[in-house]
Subunit: 92 residues, 7 copies
Amino acid sequence: MANVNIKPLADRVLVEPMAAETTTASGIIIPDTAKEKPQKGKVVAVGPGTKDEDMTVKVGDSVLYGKYSGTDLKLDGVDYLIMRESDILAIV
Amino acid sequence: MANVNIKPLADRVLVEPMAAETTTASGIIIPDTAKEKPQKGKVVAVGPGTKDEDMTVKVGDSVLYGKYSGTDLKLDGVDYLIMRESDILAIV
Amino acid sequence: MANVNIKPLADRVLVEPMAAETTTASGIIIPDTAKEKPQKGKVVAVGPGTKDEDMTVKVGDSVLYGKYSGTDLKLDGVDYLIMRESDILAIV
Amino acid sequence: MANVNIKPLADRVLVEPMAAETTTASGIIIPDTAKEKPQKGKVVAVGPGTKDEDMTVKVGDSVLYGKYSGTDLKLDGVDYLIMRESDILAIV
Amino acid sequence: MANVNIKPLADRVLVEPMAAETTTASGIIIPDTAKEKPQKGKVVAVGPGTKDEDMTVKVGDSVLYGKYSGTDLKLDGVDYLIMRESDILAIV
Amino acid sequence: MANVNIKPLADRVLVEPMAAETTTASGIIIPDTAKEKPQKGKVVAVGPGTKDEDMTVKVGDSVLYGKYSGTDLKLDGVDYLIMRESDILAIV
Amino acid sequence: MANVNIKPLADRVLVEPMAAETTTASGIIIPDTAKEKPQKGKVVAVGPGTKDEDMTVKVGDSVLYGKYSGTDLKLDGVDYLIMRESDILAIV
């Protein structure tokens, strides 16, 4: 996980996606079905939150998020996603 | 019900679905009609809730939820659903 | 009205529908017109309400509700509907 | 106006519609144009209101309401409409 | 402007429309273009307002409102419009 | 800029549009591209604001607003637009 | 970055876009994929914020924003975008 110089605004989170079909150490396998599948990634930067909402996830957390969440972003040759914390389903 | 290492965010709940047509101990039979049918499952993980909403369901509860609620997730070979508590209709 | 072992969440109500065309003791007849028609049922279980909304209906109340309200549910061979209290139009 | 045994929930009002083209004592004539026309009726039952909204109309009030407001309901052979007070335009 | 016996509910206003193309004393001419044009009318009755909103317009005010605002209403042979105060653009 | 006798309601602003392609004293040129372009105008009347929102613009301000904002209005032979302050992008 | 004489209203920000495909000093490369891509720009003017929201970005910040955010504006021959701060994803 590279150091990145980016400050997400408000309740946004910068996530480095992991390969979708890999079986990880904790054994999660993203199923290949017709329903929308969650994706897994590593949190690399977290916004300050909003007046209404403190942030829960921290840098380094592994998170699951919906397949179409966030906006693509390439930084120093690495692909990231930037999304709102509400797009994150769970910490794994 | 396997132990799972997953922390749902906010008001989300991780549910292990039960077979849809089974007659359970409490005798619930999901009818096979044209209208949208509730599904039954076991709660395996519960988020901390939100500022506006405390959580009602607990790990181990049997719950009913709408047919298209939540997002599929496979964990250690088991299929789960992750949904908001507001998608849960009742505890049975 | 059978005893049921089900706890609706939040502001949800479990209703046992009555036959739609019957003339009841209080004489209500559901008209057969093109407009959406209310249905009649008996309340069999009531959720605890929400932070914003206390519950008004009680177990045993006869209620009217819109034709497409709620979700079907079969319990010990009986058909029920589970709906939000805001889907209930009136107590009769 | 028959006595009715019905308790509208929340901010709902039970209205007995009057004939749409009649010239009444106060001389109101509902015009027959292409635009949506208000309807006139008599209030026969009023809900308790909500936490956010007290009720303004009373039983016996003559009210105007939009053409497609409310839900049809037949009670002891009389046609009624049940609608939210916010669907009522004016007392006449 | 006839006396009318009508009490608009909440934040509703009863308006007697003026002829759309007339040049009035204050010289306002409604242009005939493709864009939506405001209409001019005289306020003949005003509701009590809501808990969230006091009323600004008074009986006798000349007001401008959008072309498709409000609901038609004929009263003692005169055409009126009943609309929410938020549909009124300005007092002229 | 003519004196006008019009009182916008709530958070509405009466704006006299300026010619769209002119290069003004401050050098603003509205570009001619496919994307929606802001327009420039002079504020000639300002509403009192709402309970939730005080007004920022003042009579005489030059403002930019979106191309499709507001409603056309001709007053003493001059074309105006009446819009909500939230439709105004900036003071220039 | 030219000095500009423009005051964005409320929570709006004036941004001078940077060339989309350039590799900048911090090494950000906007990827050329089918998904919506963030754009990079320099903040040149910032509104005062709203009652509900203080401003986070400052003049001179480099920011990322969605591809279709904001409204085009040409000022002294330079192309700008004016957008709400909520359209800004991150400071880089």
